[in-house]
Symmetry: C2
């Protein structure tokens, strides 16, 4: 019964961290969670599943992570590492703006469930901040006053995230089924304009539509400044 019995029957730790048990860490947990998100979607990224993949119990994760919500925030920021904000210098602010936004939305669309996660999670990690910084930079280069630029960033990111969620849910294809059916059945008498526009409401390849939306948002922001372009001094 004495502790540390050298004869203890278990496989002796084995030389080098070969197989037995790399220690848990926040990084390993976030990595594994992101992997599960990519492979199995948002519902597949449960604490229990992450723990199982790491060959431990869910309770063990609480030493490194505050709970599911907190893990989600960490995973979101890790995923946003892939968003490119280093823009080929000497391009116009507009090209830089759209290129950051397009990179952001491409990352969201590439990982099923990520946009959904982004909609429900506060994005205040370093990678979110990096993206916000880049957008503010471009908008201010475009001549927007900081007040308008700040709200515009919120608007652009919110829209990009929402469209990402819409186009990459469980799978976008499956989701298109029911809505196509519903719109194809819409009655001309009850909803004449919806009826007339039913094809347009579904048209666009996603990418085309997103580009149009970004241009629209930029045009709107440029034409609806919170403060006039010049004469910034007091009234």
């Amino acid at each position: 019964m004495s502790a540390r019995n050298p004869f203890a029957g278990r496989p002796v730790k084995s030389r080098r961290s070969g197989k037995v048990k790399d220690p848990l860490s926040r990084d390993r947990i976030v990595d594994e969670a992101l992997g599960l998100l990519v492979r199995n979607g948002l519902d597949g990224m449960s604490l229990r599943a992450v723990a199982a993949a790491l060959e431990t119990g869910a309770a063990s994760l609480y030493a490194y992570v505050d709970g599911l919500d907190s893990l989600r925030a960490l995973v979101l920021d890790r995923a946003l590492e892939r968003v490119s904000t280093t823009v080929t210098r000497r391009r116009g602010w507009r090209a830089r703006l759209t290129s950051v936004l397009e990179s952001y939305i491409r990352v969201l669309m590439a990982t099923p469930g990520l946009a959904q996660l982004a909609l429900g999670t506060l994005a205040a990690g370093p990678n979110s901040l990096r993206v916000i910084e880049a957008l503010l930079d471009a908008l201010e280069d475009g001549g927007l006053d900081p007040a308008t630029a700040a709200w515009a960033v919120d608007l652009l990111l919110l829209y990009a995230t929402a469209i990402g969620a819409e186009h990459s849910g469980p799978d976008a294809a499956e989701r298109m089924g029911p809505i196509t059916r519903a719109l194809s059945l819409v009655s001309r008498e009850d909803f004449p304009r919806v009826y007339a526009a039913r094809r347009e409401l579904l048209s666009g390849k996603g990418e085309e539509r997103f580009e149009w939306a970004v241009e629209t948002l930029i045009a709107g922001v440029l034409h609806n400044r919170r403060r006039p372009k010049r004469a910034a001094s007091g009234r």
Copy 2:
């Protein structure tokens, strides 16, 4: 053992539908679910909770409803009944547009979890269609071609829903905590523009901000038509 024994011992159905057991129906299920959503948020609206409130088991609901996703779609459309689209005639198209959108977002913000639900659910019920119809009507009155109007409706609703979700999560107040803290800690060296804009990024009373956003979206749509305003013929 013969069926229909008049002596059967149970409490005899009782006169009038007093208490015993109003029959289940899809309507009663949706009503109860909406009530739970209002009182307990999206997570509180589980099939088991709805069933319990109706004094039955979860399995019984499957006779009237296809499952949780389907129930959510029904609840969403029921909630959208409250969106007002009957606009006091002889107001400009712009006033009508913003009044419908503001009614929509007010409904979303009034019911915790509803905006979240709307983001994850296909909105193709009669009340969604009614809202879409009203928006198309206003935009086409404003001189937008149908192609632009269709995409604009999508853009406007998506944004309104997303902002509703952002401002009415579990509770908006609790969610503001962490992000305020994160932004107040942001480093001036790493993210100078975020640092400079940190107050603006959080400013605005929600309502003010939403109004600005709607104006911005409208301005954008008016300045970024998919087809030119006149000369509609030709290819």
